[in-house]
Symmetry: D2
Subunit: 370 residues, 4 copies
């Protein structure tokens, strides 16, 4: 079986999630498009990265990402580091001819994200921005139903990502450092909302809203609120917060169309709520347990009803990348490219600007210069 | 038992709901503060209003509301007519010394609502704007919990009222006539969202958003979307629509505080979702079936778990009015006064203006002139 | 409008529920088949029954049920008294030519229930045993769907009625007195389960199970458990208890057929869960909000989504009785007759016998003697 | 790191589930008690087992289980083959000094299960019967809460395992062959219900019920129904079926005690419903998302709210086995031993006997002969 060498930047939360996925791809998706070989992993804490290499089975650990870039046995560079470390290593890896995966948000703002996208796009390698929620079976099923016209004309998209761990002034991680993170709930959570809005409902045309910080002294935003108009004529609300007690990982969205509605909550990620305006006397939202043989990604898994977990979304996502590499197929539209990463950032920034100016902001994407 | 004569304007949806409530008050709330005597009912369709009088037991029917105003045996004038018929009869009744109940929205816009409030306030009668959802036991319980500080400092309020009957161009009722209704989803649905936001979370400080019309030729708004900042520092979203297939009467809100969260859906009106950030290892939202002996309004009803219906909210609401009249107690804060009706309209109008100008709108209430 | 005089035995829980229903029928169901006129109400506590007469509007109160039996202006005798008071007054009223309604359980055991049924049946009057849950819109919809073959061949019926108020040794009402009540959870709760099993799935053929008492000194059963085989070949479980903390009025049942399934919980009585094995890729249980214009009983109520309460089931039930009287139509099959009341008792008794003997009990109904 | 060689019998559903778990243990549980080394895998279809060896990374494939038994590099023999292949290879492996894991049901009936248990027990190796649902975090949390007395005295246990794939006469697998499977829903599904009943609520004392076959010509049972009395004085129902349309993997149980209740559904395996009878005015079942740092097994996984899947229960289960081996700790009480496997079979057989005789069956466990 053909293999591909993987170089991983980051060994903590995302490093674990991606490494687990690479290992499971080798046997859960069978046969895999390419067998991932874990070559090198990079992190700043030498002891921790050594342990991570042993734990996940990388050939070596390093505290110098340049070593991964220079390693010819690595064909895929996966960046799961802090946001401030997305641009330089990812661009360097792409310029070294490696395919690249980068965690979201792509850059710390739209300008940086644009720069990353353009630099990488020019190299011709495959690039995926790791909006993993596109790879939840229920989300993909939703996309397929919408593409097939099952919702008719869309009237509403309302999305929110609610978490509750931010209401603690003593928290002190890179996620609260503007230089490292770029933003707070905006890039961490709203970026996901915006990506799913685009994935399921197309481009937003304008936003009115704001980012907000609750805690005195906190240097990034804690919550983001917006009203939105989409180019397809639908309207809705977008929200992200780290201050919603009781909501642990509640990425929720609902979409209403002329023929039906869909509703989703990541805390019940194996379920999709489906309403069909079909005139059945017994009408209502169906709780669809998305685990059937004819459901997305399910060829990799278990008999119906035997549900999967959050970590498995990365199996689907990275499998998609490997398939794109193996067969020279595009990442888009089911995977998010760096262009999608950039576009999400542009929308996020527009909400911030709307908050600063008080004015409605049109979404305008930068053009690649000739 | 002391009685009070009731004059009712309107015999259709709201006329039925209010008449039912007056009749049930006489025996379900025991002893009632005042026994309602159904004196006269008014409507434009002579045949229909005659039937309504017979059906609900009014002494007489009329197509001239002035007759109700002139009838000295009527002590309470209840206006359940179309929005355009709110101002004149209600003011006239109050000036004739009758206590007044008026369906929401109070007027067709903030200006008219202000005028109604001021004119009626000057007469000294009791006035209630029929935001009946304040009288859902779960909503009252929420209010009591918030007042008792059980949520701590509030961070978020998100409210939406989703219905799905508007997506039909052939619909032709007064509700789509701007002259009769003033607005569409705005006054019909958003007014409820805004009133509950104020009831549970206090005054909004500013809004950014818009009203939107989907159907060509429709003369009122179909949906309203907004981001909102409250004076207490909390933020959130507000939404109302008649275009959400599968949502029949989904007035939903959630409120997150530093000590806990509450969540509600009118389609499951007997339930309140309660999260307490109390460190219990088994933490999560409780589904509270609001039907216990120590729950609001339950002294009127059944053993625990024997739930009530939408129509019963009017029993609580009009009972509250009768109690205020009988004992000269204020309608506020648990009932909505005409001032509350006006304030809801001011916020609704601000969203519309924000949509027209694209700018953030501060909520500023008109002052009663000296 | 033609009227019918009503005589009511009992003024507490069931007296309130039935009186409320008679009053609402007069205007909520329009035009009513007969207008109920509340003539007399009977109870042993003279002060309480006097107040009840005033409260609900009965012409007179009495502590002698014979007075109701002797009153020619009474056409319908409604027995909501304790179980021990079901037989004699109900039979006497029927023999006096009055139509009769009797709360469940019909008698304190199968023998007494049989006697009541036979005695009343011979008089030719209409008789209804007040299994009110047949008159929940969701339950009626289920029945209609089953009758229409929408479930195919039934495989399973599992029913349970869970309450939680019994776990208190200090409780001391007639419900714990074997002479007054006949049994505990058996007649109070299991009778409902058994009636719905018969209503939705037909006759049970045999049961294996038992009644059980948890509290030392308690003289009636606290819980009942059984496995059951139905004559149509389906199988399942039946359960009733007053010892299920957190379940307040949880009458729950599920029925599985070759074409689909239905599921119900009385605590969410406005909802029916519907699964159709129709091959839709998006398959799952629908949460049907049973409140549409084409749903059972909804012609009496509100716009869709505006739900009703437990008390409203009695409006449907007693309306059914009035319609049967007015138009000489049968109570069965949608209403429960005294024969249904007797049959439920026979099944309940069979479970008790199975517990005593340890043996499977066949359900055998007594034959009316020639 | 110390390793242990694994020999696997079976490569299909359970072979995949167990192999996946062994591989994930090596890095998700860190450091693992022993690093599993996949040595050999056995199956009858030569081509399929060759592929499985390559896929999951076993050193070799074989169609002769004796080879695994004879292989000294194998320290743990894992039997995921059809039920008829449980006894001989498992006993042989244990006698060869290997620790053993065996899928449930342990044997095809109580007699065979007893024989397997006794034979293996005598060898002194560790043995686990793979009742994996004990290793769902929510189930373990329930056990811990019950052990800590949080439910008080237990009154009820009701359990059911509902699936819906059996209603198809064309199905033809070893699961419908009595010689290979021993039984149908009984050993496949009811065994799980019975094991969880014992795990959470202790020993059943007697059962009344039956096994039932719907389809003509089917040679195993399709459904099982029982009423049960437990030795601790609680009572309830037990059910298993493959004929419940819409229920895909619905292992559901509820337990009611004097201080509270717990409820669970495997289709929402990350959630535990918790009711505390603590007098809180806001009382109700909490939906606990069992994914917190202080929840069972969560040290291996992700931040709160990032849920896991069905396959991950095997990670916990086999990790438990490795820990028991590495540190010579007992499998019981959190893992199911072969004695637990035998006891489940004894209870299952008692239900069958009750169905045949119609009589209540006492649960009596065989004694190991001296």
């Amino acid at each position: 079986m053909e293999t591909i060498g993987v170089g991983m930047l980051g060994y903590a939360f995302m490093g674990k999630a991606h490494s687990n996925a690479f290992r499971k791809i080798a046997y859960m998706t069978w046969p895999p498009p390419l067998e991932p070989r874990l070559v090198g992993i990079c992190g700043r804490n030498r002891e921790a990265v050594d342990e991570a290499a042993e734990r996940y089975g990388y050939d070596y650990a390093t505290d110098d990402w340049q070593r991964l870039v220079d390693d010819d046995s690595i064909g895929l560079f996966d960046n799961g580091g802090p946001n401030a470390l997305h641009a330089e290593p990812t661009i360097a890896a792409a310029r070294a001819g490696k395919h690249v995966v980068c965690e979201k948000p792509l850059g710390r703002d739209a300008a940086e994200s644009f720069e990353i996208w353009r630099a990488v796009e020019e190299t011709g390698v495959k690039h995926l921005c790791a909006f993993n929620y596109r790879f939840v079976p229920a989300v993909r099923l939703a996309r397929e139903m919408i593409e097939a016209g099952e919702l008719g004309e869309v009237r509403h998209f309302r999305g929110r990502y609610l978490q509750d761990w931010g209401d603690d002034p003593s928290l002190d991680t890179w996620r609260f450092d503007p230089a490292a993170a770029g933003s707070g709930a905006l890039g961490d959570l709203m970026a996901h909302v915006v990506d799913l809005a685009r994935f399921l409902n197309g481009e937003p045309g304008s936003v009115q809203g704001f980012a907000h910080t609750f805690l005195p002294g906190r240097k990034v935003d804690d919550a983001v609120e917006a009203a939105v108009v989409f180019e397809n004529g639908s309207v809705g609300t977008l929200e992200a917060t780290r201050f919603a007690h009781g909501r642990r990982n509640a990425l929720q969205w609902e979409i209403n169309g002329t023929k039906g509605s869909l509703s989703f909550d990541m805390e019940r990620m194996n379920e999709l709520q489906v309403f069909r305006a079909d005139g059945d006397r017994a009408r209502g939202f169906k709780t669809v347990l998305v685990s059937e043989a004819d459901h997305p990604f399910w060829e990799h898994w278990w008999p119906p009803g035997h549900i999967i977990g959050w970590g498995d979304t990365f199996v689907h996502e990275l499998h998609h990348v490997l398939e794109a590499i193996a067969n020279d197929r595009p990442i888009a539209p089911y995977g998010a490219t760096f262009e999608d990463g950039y576009r999400a950032a542009e929308i996020c920034d527009a909400i911030v600007r709307s908050g600063e100016s008080g004015a409605r902001e049109q979404i305008r994407y930068r053009q690649a210069s000739a």
